[in-house]
């Protein structure tokens, strides 16, 4: 009957204590098809895929592989059945090398001996990386790789299985255009080989670039499946959010106030050199560049998370020294980090505790934390940011990726900083919520906060920033005003051309 499908998931239900993550999951996949799965944060996409990969058991429903019912016991079993998965959160072993990670659990052996065939492993790994056009030392330990490199290792690992079905849960979230191109070429090639792919992304333009069909989920419910050629971006957004979005970038322009933050000659060995810029009241400044250009490092240095070797930071015209994040926060500087799992959240703590962590001081009444006020404030944030959760006492661990990001955001909003540095603030956030975040940024700017936004998503940078700084290999390649900035110009600066040459 359904011979044409390599995979059918029918009526999948998955409950967690307090939440029904998937109420009615439906998905079909044809060989050689790229099936996009979209939906708001917490819609149940990752959960549905984790069920497919055997990482989590389902409560009810049916999975058919090539028309035959299958029960998937474990990730290992899923791999044997020809399903491989790139998880939203990385699943790499930090102290193993790239090659060891790719072949973890199925190391090639020397003949029938119990020993690993190292040369085969390294060669195979190298050829897989070549196939996805990644130039990476296969002996390098993964914890020394950049985030983007780690993402590429995940991809290499997934395709090395020669699976019939490959699931990619937001693979593009940590990639810049260069890697993304390589990924898309790879996907095209896999298509030609008849491999079915499920592709989850919040960047809707990607759907139109590579997708064949698109399935939309909302609040754990299956909404609809359509051929990509039959829908528009607005259609998808309407299905996801339940209404139309008028402005994706609700940029408000305010009058430029006095200078808030000025950086002069900031340098850090091995990271960046001689970086100078300033931020004013009432503006959002973008900081962009290729992966590894040193944007994150600059942000960490300003925030006192890393030591600086030279340079001076001025706040409201006065020179300041920032020795630690604590110092920075006290003086009114906040940093929303790009790695929410290890640097943004305390995963075992509740939403409430995470939200107030950076500004507990303000809740203290005679030595003690005023818990009533804490609850009220957190509830307000949950409502305002539309964090999808059964309550403010939910542990951060149990939230969907996007909702976790919103909690981090709430934490920094609560600090009432003068300067906020956002490192990839909308990574993994759905379109609807993104707009909310942009609105919040507007509100902040209106109140006199100035924002430095590091982002690899050029549309976002172009859409929201008053000024755009571009970094290239550890130094500032140039600054573009909102009105002069184009995607092309930014890319030129980011790849090493000078401001003069593009003017």
């Amino acid at each position: 009957m359904s011979e044409e499908y390599v995979l059918e998931m029918r009526d999948i239900v998955k409950r967690f204590p307090g939440v029904v993550a998937v109420k009615n999951g439906q998905l079909t996949l044809k060989p050689g098809e790229v099936h996009c799965l979209v939906g708001e944060n917490g819609a149940g996409k990752s959960t549905l895929m984790k069920i497919l990969s055997g990482a989590q058991p389902m409560d009810s429903g049916a999975i058919l592989l090539s028309g035959k019912p299958a029960t998937i016991h474990s990730p290992h079993h899923a791999q044997q059945l020809g399903i491989s998965m790139i998880y939203q959160e990385f699943n790499l072993s930090p102290y193993l090398s790239v090659a060891e990670n790719i072949y973890l659990g199925r190391e090639p052996r020397l003949g029938k001996s119990p020993f690993i065939n190292w040369s085969k492993m390294y060669n195979d790994a190298r050829s897989i990386l070549n196939r996805i056009r990644v130039n990476l030392d296969v002996r390098k330990p993964v914890n020394e790789c950049s985030v983007a490199q780690q993402q590429m290792v995940e991809i290499a690992k997934a395709i090395s299985f020669n699976s019939r079905i490959i699931v990619m849960d937001e693979p593009s979230a940590t990639l810049t255009d260069h890697e993304l191109d390589a990924l898309f070429e790879l996907i095209a090639e896999l298509k030609r080989q008849g491999i079915g792919m499920i592709y989850i992304s919040h960047r809707l333009e990607e759907i139109f670039a590579i997708g064949d069909r698109v399935t939309v989920m909302r609040d754990g419910e299956y909404i609809d499946t359509k051929p990509v050629s039959d829908v528009t971006r607005e259609d998808i957004i309407r299905m996801m959010v339940g209404r139309a979005l008028t402005h994706e970038f609700p940029k408000e322009v305010f009058d430029l106030g006095e200078e808030r933050l000025r950086i002069e000659g900031l340098s850090r060995k091995g990271g960046f050199k001689d970086v100078s810029f300033s931020l004013h009241r009432g503006e959002i400044v973008g900081l962009t560049g290729l992966v590894g250009a040193g944007r994150t490092e600059v942000a960490r240095a300003i925030f006192g998370a890393d030591r600086i070797d030279a340079g001076q930071i001025f706040l409201d015209g006065k020179p300041i020294t920032v020795r630690s994040p604590q110092d920075a926060i006290r003086q009114g500087i906040g940093l929303l980090t790009e790695d929410r799992k290890n640097q943004g959240l305390i995963l075992g703590m509740t939403i409430r505790e995470n939200t107030t962590l950076a500004n507990l001081k303000s809740l203290v009444r005679v030595l003690f934390v005023d818990r009533g006020r804490e609850r009220r404030i957190t509830s307000d944030f949950v409502r305002e940011l539309q964090i999808k959760t059964p309550g403010i006492e939910q542990t951060a661990q149990n939230l969907s990726g996007g909702n976790q990001q919103k909690v981090v955001l709430a934490k920094w909003l609560f600090t009432e900083s003068k300067v906020l540095i956002f490192d990839e603030p909308t990574r993994g956030i759905d379109v609807g919520a993104k707009v909310e975040i942009y609105r919040l940024m507007n509100d902040l700017v209106r109140k006199g906060v100035c924002i430095l936004m590091i982002s690899s998503e050029l549309p976002e940078v172009l859409g929201m920033c008053d000024r755009i700084l571009v970094m290239h290999e550890g130094h500032l390649a140039g600054s573009l005003d909102r009105k002069d900035a184009t995607q092309e110009r930014i890319m030129k600066l980011a790849t090493g051309e000078t401001l003069a040459s593009i003017a």
Binding site: P17, P325, Q326, G348, M349
Partner: protein, 332 residues
């Protein structure tokens, strides 16, 4: 794991209390009932009595005081193996100083306590220094301190216990207030109450849990990670010293050989009480119940005449059983 969430979030309401600690309380009750039944069957004195309760509390005072500090250390993601040695060291220093100033009456006692606490602070500072500044894992840093402090305790007294202490010296360990309530029990209860409030209601407590849950995230949220760790180890060391003062007061002697292996007993009490060894989660109340589970076991087994070898076997089994029961909480 919704229970965990609740367990970590401050003072739970009455019903939450039962949900969080219910299984531990059941374990404790089962244990008491078992000893009562065996005692009746053997025809010896019944096990359950007010006197016996006070005895058990009294006997757990030392471990109790120390376990409050250990709970903080473990929630902060660390461990402190030096407490057994510090128990001995505290007693030795307290006794030595008190004896040296014996003519000064109560002042001597105060000076002894102060000196011992200073020594504890010093030890805690060393732990803190190695763990924060030099990034040595707590297990190994406190293991080294355990070894050194034990040796130092012997060395300063030349191996023999410090006796000839003034009569007042027994104040902490043997004095009863209102005729019935031992000072040591009061000290323990104060430590538990103070620890509970500190952990649940102050920014410091929140910071401790944040560090245990993820030190890097905590640091980037402006938590003074190193300072908090430092304080936690100092606190634990000082409480171990207080435990040592109680013990030496009970024995009216500062003996450098006591407390060997006590660190494991204390850690067991904390973990049986539901605190996670991987940090971030745990409660002071749980530690109190865990402490009682282990104290009742020790007294009960002697009560029914079990000899030492059997006691060790049963201690192991009860630790496992209690931790296992606590696991079911999640399922219930």
């Amino acid at each position: 794991m919704p229970h965990v969430a609740t367990a970590t979030s401050g003072r739970p309401a009455a019903s939450t209390f039962l949900r969080v600690y219910g299984f531990l309380l059941v374990a404790l009750a089962l244990e008491c009932a078992a000893f009562e039944v065996i005692a009746r069957y053997q025809g010896i004195r019944p096990f359950l009595s007010v006197d016996n309760l006070i005895l058990i509390l009294n006997q757990s005072a030392i471990y109790g005081v120390v376990s409050v500090g250990m709970t903080f250390v473990i929630i902060a993601g660390g461990i402190d193996l030096s407490v057994g040695s510090l128990i001995a060291f505290g007693g030795v220093v307290g006794a030595l100083v008190t004896r040296a100033l014996a003519d000064a009456g109560w002042w001597a006692l105060g000076a002894g306590w102060a000196a011992a606490i200073m020594a504890g602070l010093a030890a805690g500072c060393f732990s803190g220094l190695f763990i924060t500044r030099f990034q040595i894992p707590p297990f190994i840093a406190t293991l080294a301190i355990m070894s050194s402090v034990r040796g130092a305790g012997y060395l300063i007294v030349g191996g023999s216990p410090v006796s000839d202490l003034p009569a007042d010296y027994i104040f902490l360990g043997r004095y009863n207030i209102a005729g019935h309530v031992p000072v040591s029990v009061i000290v323990m209860l104060v430590a538990f109450a103070g620890g509970g409030i500190l952990l649940n209601s102050t920014p410091f407590g929140r910071h401790v849990r944040a560090i245990g849950g993820g030190a890097e995230s905590a640091r980037l949220s402006g938590v003074p990670v190193n300072r908090v760790k430092w304080i936690v180890y100092c606190m634990c060391s000082v409480l171990a010293i207080v435990g040592g003062l109680i013990l030496s007061s009970k024995m009216r002697s500062g003996d450098p050989t006591v407390g060997v292996g006590d660190e494991l007993q204390v850690i067991a009490a904390v973990v049986v009480g539901g605190t996670s060894l991987s940090g971030g989660r745990g409660t002071i109340m749980g530690t109190f119940i865990g402490l009682l589970i282990i104290a009742v076991l020790a007294t009960g087994l002697t009560w029914i005449g079990m000899e030492s070898f059997g006691q060790q076997v049963i201690l192991g089994i009860v630790i496992l059983a209690a931790v296992l029961m606590d696991r079911f909480k999640g399922a219930a």
